[in-house]
């Protein structure tokens, strides 16, 4: 039972979070465009569904609070309460409270009671607005509130049960209560049910009425009067004016309900009891629920009609939503891992059968590999999501941060449909939040300051994503004051990170801000001083096998570029071999392969670069870089170069032989090797042997660091690769 409960809870929470996210984005839209009906409806639907779900599991605190929010939203939707930015803020705050309440259920967060009380009060204040005063006491099913001008005449067809008097009810009390609800226009007493005199039981009640009441109450209010009178039969036909309203409510209901009776109950056109009765009749007669309801006189025909339309829409929608399935992420990961293993084995089988001359066998193997390839693509696709979900959250971050700092921000999002691995998407949220906050806090100047500098008082922050050679690039740009190279350099000297004599390139200076504990902000503000520095951002990005870079022009703005791998599990690799050791280079990084002629090799005596169609192509000799032990095989006269590209820079990797493409399942470096530079993981080759996967970014960085060290030590300046080449020749 407990696990079932847990499962329900987790479903409730995850659905709730999605709804809240949608609610927030709708609220943000509303803020920009207060007339947007669709946004109001989205907010309403979210609140309505959360309340409904909470009701299913009996989370009273959430029900009570969401109910008030929902009531307010109905007023907003009916145009009684105008939308203002204060109202949107209040609703945002309410959304945060609901979120806190949900997190409280899983023990993640405490609900701030003061905040809750205050927000509840504010919400009630809005509800109690003079325009809506008449409605303030109607707190239950909000959807059908009417304003004073909307008074209508209810028709109540009442047949009291025989036991009425014995149960202690009095007719007088019933009429008094009806009178409290509104004005009784007329009441006709019917005595047709009174039996013959010798059959009369004087303690029984045989009376029925047709009563017309003019009131602005809801149907349920009238029905409540008879709640405890079990054997009493009654039908309430709402006034004509409300039937139109019911129709509009029905149209606005979240389209999840496919049972017509429930649609009507949700809209308030039908009470639960009426529905139950109709359902019993349906069982007996087999006619349509809608027809029975009209026959019973509970609902007007046109209301049933619109509910039928709604029902059809909902059915159409629900057949679409079958396409989505909630799956435990762990199960999914296991599946992807298994597919990975299968891909390895597939490679192995094709390797083993390569030399067997059997047409049927090779055909079968080829077919199997094609299927495996397709399977791999599909399996990986399971984890891929558009980055939109992550990006949208930042609307709120920007809004809150800019309000807090009194800065005006024009926030722009682009490339939201760019797809990436879900794990990456989740882990990128914190670093991005930090970067965006930084941009607003440190980047964008105060409006007055901007005007002095001939900039529009509104700051511009943009967040964009796009694909580039096998990775996803996310960019955070602002048009603020930019980074001051001088300030950074001074700070770095002060901290002892660099020496005064050091001459650093722009990139190197900007990279200093990623050093632990580095901050040039003169004041630590509430926004940026939350305990995570740029070093943590960098580490987070690197743990995702990504890379972060800063470009900035003082006075103009700053661009922070994050480059991340698309997926964490399987990649297409390019297998190379040098000194009998195999390495895999991610295929996405490979631009082309070249064969070096003997002349070209000899030309490289004194430098480690070649001329690639007029461009300089720096080379890294893997054999030297990795200090691989020399094997006995003769130095081959020709060498191969794999040209890789990273961050727009091309580098050649000098290797012995090229072995072609391989499917590569990435196995993490593990605890022991995790800090190794130049590699991103292991993989198992078709032969069953392990091979290392080269991480081009860190490899190039490592190689250039090494050369710098070398140059420092030997000012005379022969490059490492060239030096060892001379040695080789001497041998």
């Amino acid at each position: 039972m407990d696990t079932e409960m847990d499962e329900n809870l987790s479903i409730f929470i995850s659905e709730g979070n999605e709804l809240l996210e949608d609610m927030e984005s709708a609220l943000l839209d509303l803020e920009n465009n207060t007339d947007d009906e669709e946004s109001i409806n989205r907010v309403f639907r979210a609140a309505h569904t959360i309340k409904g779900n909470a009701g299913l599991f009996g989370y009273d605190q959430i029900i009570d609070f969401t109910h008030i929010v929902e009531s307010l939203l109905v007023e907003v939707r009916n145009g009684v309460i105008p939308i203002s930015s204060e109202l949107v803020s209040l609703l945002m705050r309410s959304k945060d409270i609901i979120s806190a309440m949900m997190n409280y259920l899983i023990g993640k967060e405490e609900v701030d009671q003061n905040d809750l009380d205050e927000t509840t009060k504010l919400l009630e204040c809005y509800l109690a607005d003079p325009h809506a005063a008449a409605l303030a006491n109607q707190t239950n099913l909000d959807s059908e509130k009417q304003s004073d001008s909307n008074k209508g005449v209810f028709t109540l067809n009442l047949k009291l049960g025989k036991e009425t008097f014995r149960q202690g009810f009095s007719i007088k009390a019933i009429f008094r209560e009806l009178n409290e609800l509104g004005e009784i226009v007329s009441s006709n007493l019917y005595m047709s049910h009174i039996p013959k005199i010798d059959e009369i039981d004087p303690e029984c009640c045989y009376l029925s009425w047709l009563i017309l009441i003019e009131s602005n109450c809801r149907k349920q209010d009238i029905a409540d009067i008879f709640e405890f009178m079990d054997d009493c039969e009654f039908h309430i036909l709402p006034p004509k004016s409300t039937s139109e309203q019911y129709i509009s409510i029905i149209n606005l209901l979240p389209s999840a309900e496919t049972v017509i009776g429930q649609i009507l109950v949700d809209a308030g056109a039908l009470t639960d009891k009426e529905l139950q009765k109709a359902l019993i009749t349906q069982k007996e007669t087999g006619s349509l629920t809608g027809d029975i309801l009209i026959e019973q006189g509970d609902v007007q025909p046109e209301v049933v009609e619109s509910a039928l339309v709604k029902q059809q829409q909902s059915r159409a929608n629900s057949s679409q939503s079958v396409e989505f399935l909630r799956v435990n992420a762990e199960k999914l990961d296991t599946l992807i891992n298994l597919v990975g293993e299968l891909v390895i084995n597939g490679e192995r089988v094709s390797g083993l059968t390569e030399n067997i001359e059997n047409d049927k066998l090779s055909e079968a193997v080829t077919e199997m590999n094609e299927t495996l390839e397709e399977m791999r693509e599909t399996a990986l696709g399971l984890r891929i999501v558009p980055i939109d979900g992550v990006f949208k959250r930042f609307n709120r971050t920007v809004r809150d941060t800019s309000n807090e700092l009194g800065k005006k921000i024009n926030f722009e999002i682009s490339g939201g449909d760019t797809e990436l691995d879900k794990t990456v998407a989740e882990k990128i949220t914190d670093p991005l939040t930090h970067l965006i906050r930084n941009a607003i806090d440190h980047g964008i100047e105060k409006p007055s300051e901007r005007e002095l500098n001939n900039k529009s008082p509104e700051g511009h922050v943009s967040l964009s994503a796009y694909h580039e050679t096998g990775s996803i690039v996310i960019k955070v740009s602002d048009d603020g004051k930019g980074l001051s190279k001088e300030k950074i350099a001074n700070k770095a000297i002060e901290r002892g990170l660099i020496k005064k004599s050091d001459k650093l390139s722009d990139t190197e200076i900007f990279n200093l801000v990623f050093e632990p504990g580095f901050s040039t902000a003169e004041q630590v503000s509430n926004i940026s001083g939350r305990g995570v520095g740029m070093d943590v951002v960098k580490r987070n990005i690197e743990s995702l096998r990504g890379n972060i870079n800063i470009k900035s022009t003082e006075g103009k703005g700053t661009d922070v570029t994050i480059q991340l791998p698309l997926t964490l599990a399987i990649i297409d690799g390019f297998l190379i071999c040098t000194e009998n050791e195999h390495f895999v280079i991610p295929l996405d990084m490979v631009v082309e392969c070249l064969r070096l002629s003997q002349e070209q090799t000899q030309e490289m005596q004194n430098h480690n670069y070649i001329n690639l169609r007029g461009e300089v192509l720096p080379l890294i000799d893997l054999k030297n870089h990795f200090s691989l032990p020399k094997t006995n095989t003769k130095e081959s006269s020709t060498k191969n170069v794999v040209v890789v590209q990273y961050c727009g820079k091309k580098t050649g990797l000098l290797v012995d032989s090229l072995q072609g493409e391989v499917q590569t399942v990435i196995k993490p470096l593990g605890k022991i090797f995790q800090n190794l530079k130049g590699f991103s993981g292991f993989t198992i080759l078709g032969s069953g042997n392990v091979s290392m996967i080269i991480d081009v970014a860190t490899l190039v960085a490592h190689a250039s660091d090494r050369e710098k060290e070398l140059f420092k030590h030997h000012k005379s300046g022969k490059k490492s690769g060239a030096e060892s080449k001379v040695e080789e020749l001497e041998i």
């Binding site: 022991i672 090797f673 800090n675 392990v690």
Partner: protein, 186 residues
């Protein structure tokens, strides 16, 4: 001298019984006998192709694939600063399960040859003399006398500690302390 299969069967059997805490596997590095408790051992595999891990410290011979798992292989002779020995037909890798930084991981130890699984009572283990041992005493749990020959019993916790194994462990530690310092400052 038993075959690896026999030893593996003995190890599995020993690890299934409660008595295993007294059982030790002995092996040779050069011409010195050593022993480790079988409780830590998963299996013994024959030395085959080991993939080099460039830029890793030299005590790491490389990695092997054990049924889809990547296992780092460490050369005990290098850890102990002993003379390196040639790879022969008898060279083996003892695969062990160890716990570093609260994470269970597997590691392989390259040894010249494995000998036998035997019972060694705790009271048979003598304290480590502070001088005269073949390897640094920090790695030794004690010595035991078996048929007139002394076997060095290794302290696996000391050999397979996080600081010994994890590459760049010290750096990692210092950056993370810096980060926490920074966090407290903020």
């Amino acid at each position: 001298m038993s075959s690896t299969e026999d030893l593996n069967a003995q190890i599995t059997e020993a690890n299934e019984t409660i008595l295993s805490s007294n059982q030790y596997l002995s092996f040779m590095l050069g011409c010195e006998p050593f022993a480790i408790p079988v409780t830590k051992i998963l299996e013994i595999i024959e030395y085959e192709y080991v993939t080099l891990v460039p830029t890793a410290p030299s005590k790491y011979r490389g990695v092997v694939n054990l049924r889809g798992k990547i296992i780092p292989v460490i050369e005990l002779t290098k850890v102990f600063n002993m003379e390196e020995s040639e790879v022969t037909k008898r060279t083996c890798i003892i695969v062990m399960e160890i716990n570093i930084d609260n994470e269970t991981t597997m590691i392989g130890c390259m040894v010249d040859k494995v000998l036998i699984v035997q019972d060694i009572d705790t009271n048979q283990i003598e304290d480590t003399p502070s001088i005269g041992t073949v390897i640094s005493s920090e790695y030794i749990k004690g010595l035991t006398n078996v048929e007139g020959k002394f076997i060095t019993i290794l302290d696996t916790d000391a050999i397979f500690s996080a600081s010994e194994l994890i590459i760049g462990y010290e750096n990692n530690l210092s950056t993370s302390t810096q980060a926490t310092e920074q966090a407290t400052l903020n």
